[in-house]
């Protein structure tokens, strides 16, 4: 039903790259030439046939570290996005459909949270919380859910006042039908593209935190932490830090391309025809 030839080139590139990253993350231990913490050579060796990306600040194989890093980066970003999305979308939809004090209370709280830049609030909270993956995922997910909440509430409020929803209410439909059959299908395309954006944001936010030394803690390392480990090499002209940084950029761009394409496909109101 999905014709590969009809997928535009940019989307195809996005899909291939994203798939590559995901496969690398899933099959990491099988494809990585060396262990994550295994020291195999000198510090910051250049790229060679044996070590495709060279070695890092402790003499570990950079390619292997990148593959393990993909695992951690994607794992945390996916879980944080899932949390922010389910939390934000469920609360946002409920606020729009039920309204009243529930809506007012939640919306004011979200306004308040959003009046502090996410990174600053993240830093403030991380200064007292224990540094571990659970904290990281919870902090990222909850802070980011405010944005999902705003979007889903706005989308649902817009749809909720449409005549077709009124028609369903006049027919006597219950809130289950109204939320899942009338509102949700129409809210899907902005939400799907938002899902892509939120994931990219989660990757960037995680990388930034790790880069600042507040995210994933050694000996584990996501890509942001790898930039931090290798940044001192830059002044000596060693580009090892740029590799994980570029990987983050590439992942973000490819997801963006896929999200754009999905958005275009799902906005068609003719069931994919014509």
């Amino acid at each position: 039903m999905l014709d590969i030839k009809r997928i535009p080139i940019p989307a195809l590139i996005g899909i291939v790259l994203t798939a590559m990253f995901v496969l690398a993350a899933i099959f990491g231990p099988l494809i990585a030439p060396h262990g994550n913490g295994e020291i195999i050579g000198d510090v910051w060796e250049p790229m060679t046939a044996a070590h495709w990306l060279g070695t890092d600040n402790l003499g570990r194989d950079l390619l292997s570290r990148m593959i393990y890093g993909a695992r951690i980066t994607l794992f945390i970003a996916v879980l944080a996005t899932a949390l922010s999305f389910s939390l934000g979308a469920i609360l946002g939809f409920s606020a729009a459909v039920f309204g009243g004090w529930f809506d007012t209370l939640l919306s004011r709280l979200v306004d308040l949270l959003m009046s502090i830049p996410t990174l600053i609030m993240g830093l403030v909270v991380l200064s007292v919380l224990p540094s571990n993956l659970v904290t990281l995922i919870l902090v990222m997910g909850i802070l980011d859910s405010t944005r999902v909440y705003r979007l889903s509430r706005a989308v649902a409020v817009d749809i909720n006042v449409m005549d077709y929803v009124e028609a369903a209410k006049l027919r006597g439909e219950g809130s289950g039908w109204i939320i899942f059959r009338e509102i949700l299908p129409n809210a899907l395309s902005p939400l799907v593209s938002e899902l892509g954006l939120r994931f990219i944001y989660a990757v960037l936010f995680l990388s930034t935190l790790s880069f600042l030394g507040l995210g994933v803690q050694p000996p584990d390392a996501d890509w942001g932490a790898m930039v931090k480990e290798n940044k001192d090499g830059i002044v000596f002209g060693i580009g090892a830090a740029l590799i994980p940084a570029a990987a983050i950029a590439m992942l973000a761009i490819s997801v963006n391309l896929v999200a754009d394409w999905v958005l275009n496909r799902t906005t068609s109101l003719k069931g994919g025809r014509g």
Binding site: D111, L112, L113, S115, I116, P117, T118, L119, I120, M121, L123, V124, V125, L126, S127, V128, L129, P130, I200, L204, S207, T208, F211, L212, G213, L214, G224, V227, K231, I234, V235, F236, G237, G239, A241, L242, A245, A246, I248, A249, A252, I253, N256
Partner: protein, 319 residues
């Protein structure tokens, strides 16, 4: 200037002050009431019961939270941001120079980014759907996907290491001559500009396009006005409010970018200071700096709102 504008502006400012108070509660709560023992977190698992008790005493943790909050707030309002736990020094005096450095950096980034973004936005509108427009929106897509440190280190790698035009580390000190200081901040300013440019430009483009597609611009064209006169007399007065709004929102974004950029270039500003003390779990410093960042962010948002109110003819000339 009519009274309704003054009233709306005053309302907005009052709302902002209330928001700021609420934010101070949130920041305080975020560091004090969350699960986990702050003293334990600071000293680590190996701490002795005595040292824990001492630290609790020192932090005033034996008092109820609201007493500590009002004590803290009273100090902040009087200009006393508290004492750093790690250095034992007053935070206010430690921050002064750094705040100035950060504002200096952000100021120059804004001076470069705003005219550049608006000009590029105008060009994109002028040649919309042409290759220039597509190139600009392509770059915008790319740059929103780039982490700040990627941009920063690419700049360092080429400009500081390969070509050695600018220093890779932005050292500034008191009494530094202006030109030297400008040279020191050239790279962080560039990095910050690149961070906010794309977004600012895309939003400017959208704001102007919105105005250019309105019926009154068509009316002006049908009066025989030149393209330039249409933009100057009819589009610009209406686009100004949304553009100010765009600029302010992105300046707010800029103050977040500043945190990362300062760390990249080891620039002695507020961001660097905040990150250092988060790592050291120096809660009073984190609270103080977090509050200052939030205050700047909220003020920029208020200015954006007030600009929109002032620029709206419906509010300036009520019925």
């Amino acid at each position: 200037m009519s009274s309704s504008i003054v009233k709306l502006g005053a309302q907005r400012i009052a709302l902002g002050i209330m928001l700021l108070l609420a934010v101070s509660v949130l920041i305080f709560a975020g560091t004090q009431i969350l699960p986990g023992d702050v003293a334990q977190a600071i000293l680590g698992q190996s701490a002795t019961p005595e040292s824990l008790a001492n630290l609790r005493e020192q932090l005033g943790l034996n008092q109820p939270a609201y007493v500590r909050y009002f004590h803290w707030l009273g100090g902040v309002l009087a200009g006393d941001l508290g004492t750093s736990m790690t250095s034992g020094q007053g935070i206010s005096s430690a921050i002064k120079g750094r705040l100035w450095n950060t504002l200096f950096l952000a100021f120059w980034a804004a001076i470069v980014a705003i005219p550049l973004a608006i000009t590029l936005g105008l060009i994109a509108v002028r040649y919309r759907n042409g290759w220039v427009d597509k190139l600009i929106s392509g770059l915008a897509l790319a740059s929103t996907s780039f982490p700040e440190f990627f941009i920063g280190y690419v700049l360092v790698y080429f400009f500081a290491v390969k070509w050695q035009i600018f220093p890779g580390i932005s050292t500034v000190y008191d009494g530094m001559p202006f030109l030297e200081r400008m040279q020191a901040i050239a790279m962080p300013v560039t990095a910050l500009t690149l961070v906010v440019l794309a977004h600012m430009m895309r939003m400017t483009r959208a704001a102007i396009l919105n105005v250019m597609q309105s019926a009154y611009v068509e009316t002006a064209e049908l009066k025989g006005l030149s393209a330039f006169a249409v933009i100057r007399k009819h589009a610009f007065p209406n686009a100004i409010a949304p553009i100010i709004n765009v600029v302010m929102l992105n300046l707010a974004y800029l103050i977040v970018g500043v945190v990362v950029v300062e760390v990249i270039f080891v620039y002695p500003g507020m961001g660097q200071y905040l990150v250092d003390h988060v790592t050291k779990r120096d809660v009073p410093v984190v609270q103080a700096v977090g509050l200052i960042f939030a205050a700047v962010y909220i003020s920029l948002n208020i200015i954006a709102d007030i600009a929109a109110i002032v620029a709206n003819p419906r509010l300036r000339h009520p019925k």
